[in-house]
Structures are given as structure tokens and as C-alpha cells.
Point group: C2
Chain length 296, copies 2
């Protein structure tokens, strides 16, 4: 790299930024709650300036912004790049805000059974994981509100699939009939009941049926109140794993420690090994993307 990088991960509910040296070291990180939902139309330059205006003043700085800032509801739309897509395709599809200085990274789209799927931000994490782990192929799982299962071959994302896992958990936890008997706080993870939920999800074959078991087990005093949230979490994550069909022998997890720990347990129960990465994947992905822009 011949230029320093300002890497920005600008999502729906938060904004994170890092200043990255020529040699790849993360020199400084900042974050705020100024997710795109808090930014009024036209307000994006000012919020970026508040966050890291001092960094942007450096004459050689390149700023790459990934995440929902590039969506219709964001700063400007960087149209989804179709799969298969590698670094090259992503780099060519950047939406330049200030030519040569500030760009939005597009998301990816693919199609299954005549239905489109999309992601925005996760693609950078996947490319970062490829770079960190020196891989060209693999299955990458990014758990969250909308979990992504991403298939990479020859350094390019071939296809991916979204599961609304975190959102279904929150809906059932907060708004369903199950919420009436669940304790107000989740408490620490109860591994035995979490794995019981993972296994029942496989047997039940659909979360519509499996979810009712959280109620009936409680009704017959077969599930302690303190373990109900863990059991429900196991049902929902177990359903996500069931939905993949035959699981690969190994996947790479990218996400928070709390989530990757649950997925490691659940996948292990079903015979799949894991490696886990955290937020370092985002910075590494943006840096790798910046490198491709310098290629002749």
C-alpha cells in the first residue's frame, strides 16, 4: 500500500472507523451510534467529518465506506454487484463520492429459485477473512439479525443465503406467547438446554412446529425458567443450521464472541468444525480492497 486507509463500517445502527497504516497496522479506532437511521438526508458528509475529519485531512488518505451507507436509505446508492464476485468486481463497482478519495463499497446480490438475495457490509468481512486466513475457498457464516451463509470458490463469492435468525429470536423472545413465561433477562447461556434446542430443531423440521415446544416443555415443568431463553436460542440457531441441508465439514464464523460461541457449540453438535473471526475481518477486507485499487 502506498496510501494510508480510513476504513469505515457504516451500518444501520452504528458507525465504526479505523485509521490503518501503510503496513496494515490499525493505528486508531473510533465508533459512534450515528448509524444511517440517525442521519438526515444530506447529513452524511457532516457525520463522517465529525467522526474522522482530522484523518481525512491527510493528503494521501483513501477512505472506503462499507455497509448500509451505500444503500438506497444511505449516503448514496452503490448498486449491488452480482455474484460471482471477487475483489476485482467489487473494486470496479465502488461508488466514488470524492473521486480517488472517498468511496462507498457496493453490496452483493445473488438469485435462488427466482428470488433475489442481498448483503451489504458482510462481503467485506468475507474478503477480509480470506485474506487473514489465506484462503480462496470455503463456507463463511456471519451470524446476526440476518445471518449470511456465504460460499466462496476461487477467491470469489459464488452465492449466499440470508436467514432472519436473530430477528426471529427477538420476535419470539419479545412479542410471542413464549415471552409471557420467559424471564425478563436471558441470563447466562445454559449449554445443555441450548443444545437440546438445536437437536429438537433438527427433529421438528420447521421452526413453526419446534417453537411451540418451548411452551409445552415449560407447561409440564420439563424446562427450568432460567434455561428457557437458551433453549429458544438453540431452536432458532438449530433451525438455521437445519435450513442449510447437508452441512460442510468446516466453516469460518465471523461475528461477535457471544454469537460465534453459540454457533460453534451448535455446529459442533452437528459435526461441523469452526474457526472464528471478529471485527478484524472488516478492517482487513477494506484494506485488501484498497490494495486492488493500486494494481496496474
Amino acid at each position: 500500500m502506498t496510501r494510508s486507509l480510513i476504513a469505515v463500517d457504516w451500518g444501520t445502527s452504528s458507525l465504526r472507523a479505523a485509521r490503518i497504516a501503510l503496513d496494515g497496522r490499525v493505528l486508531e479506532e473510533r465508533s459512534s451510534q450515528r448509524g444511517i437511521l440517525t442521519v438526515p438526508p444530506g447529513g452524511f458528509p457532516a457525520v463522517l467529518d465529525e467522526t474522522c475529519g482530522d484523518w481525512l485531512g491527510a493528503p494521501d488518505a483513501l477512505c472506503l465506506v462499507s455497509g448500509m451507507a451505500g444503500s438506497k436509505q444511505g449516503w448514496r446508492e452503490a448498486p449491488y454487484c452480482p455474484c460471482p464476485a471477487g475483489f476485482g468486481e467489487l473494486g470496479r463497482a465502488l461508488a466514488w463520492i470524492a473521486p480517488g478519495r472517498i468511496a462507498l463499497v457496493p453490496g452483493l446480490r445473488c438469485e435462488h429459485e427466482g428470488v433475489p438475495d442481498v448483503m451489504r457490509g458482510e462481503e467485506v468481512q468475507v474478503f477480509g477473512a480470506l485474506s487473514l486466513l489465506d484462503l480462496d475457498d470455503g463456507v463463511f457464516v456471519l451470524p446476526g439479525t440476518h445471518s449470511k451463509w456465504v460460499e466462496v470458490r476461487d477467491g470469489a463469492v459464488q452465492s449466499f443465503r440470508t436467514c432472519m435468525t436473530g430477528e426471529f429470536y427477538a420476535l419470539l423472545r419479545q412479542h410471542s406467547i413464549l415471552a409471557r413465561t420467559l424471564p425478563p433477562e436471558d441470563g447466562p447461556l445454559q449449554e445443555a438446554e441450548f443444545l437440546q434446542g438445536v437437536r429438537h430443531a433438527q427433529a421438528a423440521g420447521s421452526l413453526l412446529a419446534a417453537a411451540f415446544s418451548a411452551r409445552t416443555l415449560a407447561l409440564f415443568d420439563r424446562l427450568p425458567p432460567a434455561a428457557q431463553a437458551s433453549y429458544l436460542s438453540g431452536l432458532v440457531i438449530g433451525e438455521e443450521l437445519r435450513a442449510q441441508g447437508a452441512l460442510p465439514p468446516h466453516v469460518v464464523l465471523i461475528g461477535s464472541d457471544a454469537l460465534t460461541r453459540r454457533y460453534t457449540l451448535a455446529l459442533g453438535e452437528l459435526g461441523t468444525g469452526t474457526r472464528s473471526l471478529g471485527s478484524e475481518a472488516t478492517w482487513r477486507g477494506l484494506r485488501a480492497l484498497a490494495s486492488t485499487l493500486e494494481s496496474p
Copy 2:
């Protein structure tokens, strides 16, 4: 029958009652919003008296109450009767409030994969359907907040399974990210998009994955806003049908006209024929149950 019957269907959110003549004719029906959630502890006799005290005064009257009034949260618990169970088992398990005069009908329970399932009120509708259609066997589907699929053989409920279909629809409709783009009112059913949702549920293999298609199709303008609620309804009902595995060639639907119409369309799309019954099944079921009490 040698006694007139006061049939009461006392659910969570409503109370319905019918006075039934010796020959089986429904002489009068009443309903109120006094579901069990509105009744304070000890208040059940007074609410029943308000609703049909004049009927209860008849010297020969027998009053049978089905539904959640027989649950722990209701008037008194009539413990779940284990499957397989026919009229005889149900009649012997009545919880008598006033011996020989007023009784609560128990619900049923069964067990799948080490997990219990329960119903309360639907069993009476199933027995009513058997009587109305002169059947001893069949698959009975009771769509609703918690849909029930009931397998009957030799006049007895062998097993059943609950799907939280109506509740999942409401959660996604009202509280999920999909709610942000859905019009505030469902509007009339759009059959083409409803059936598109039913088919996609089969292809997707899990509602966790299928539900995201309601968002992405809208994002790419492939689903008109006025059809989004119908599509989502098709996804959720389609998931319930997928969860059953191989569908039988024919089922009996018991429920409201609006719901049985949707299930008829969805089941027809997957090659299963239907017959539909409404609230008459409840009265017929309670009458048939009353008849068994008179057998020597």
C-alpha cells in the same frame, strides 16, 4: 339425547354459548368478549351466569364447557387427556364443576421426539367433524394462531402437532423488518402472490430463509406493495404445509371461512383436496360428547 344441552366454547379471548334441543337443533347462540383473560380468579360462575343463567335454570339442562376455561389459567384445571383418545376417554376425564350438571372438557396431549404437545378446545371440533361427516378416520386441520394437524384412526385422536402459524404471521406482519414496507392494511387476498409464497416456502425449506424473500422481492420491485401481505401469508401457510412432510390426499379443514379458503388454495396447489367445516363442529362435538355420557 334425553336432556337439553348448553354448549359453551370458552376460549382465551371470547366466550360462545349455544342452547341445543333434544333433537340436536341449535335453538339459540350467544357470544361475548369475556374470554378467560378477562375473568378474575373466582369470577367464572358469575360470567357463565351472566351469559346463560336463564338457560342453566332448566331442570334437565347439562352444560359442557370446552376450551381454555379448563386450563390452569381458567375456571379449574381439567388435566390433559393422553392420546390416543376417543369420546369415551374424554367423557371419563370431564372435570365436574356441579356434578351431573356442569363440566369442563379436558384437552388432549401427545408426545413427539420426547416433547409434549397439547390442545384444548380443538379436540371437540374434531369429534364434531367426525360426527357431522360420519367418519372414523382422517386428517383434520384447524388453522389459527396455533394451527393443529390431527390424525384420527378408529374414532380416536392418535396424535397431533401444533404449528404457530398465525402467531408467526402476526409477528412478521407487525414487528419485523418486513412491517416497515408492508401497507398498514392487508387488503383483499391476492391469490397469485399468495400461491407464489406457498411455492417459495417449499423451495426455501425454512421460513427463516423464505421470509427474507418478502423483503428482497420488494426491494427489486418484483412484488407490488398491495400483494406483499398475501405473499407473506403464503410463505407462512406454505411453511406449515411443508412442515407436515408428505401431505395426505385429503384433509378436513375446521375454521373460519377466511382461513379455510386460504388453506384450501394452498393445499390445492400442493395436490391435497379439502372439505371445510366452521363453528357447527364445536356444537356437534359437545352434543356427541354429551350423548356418550348417557350410554349405559
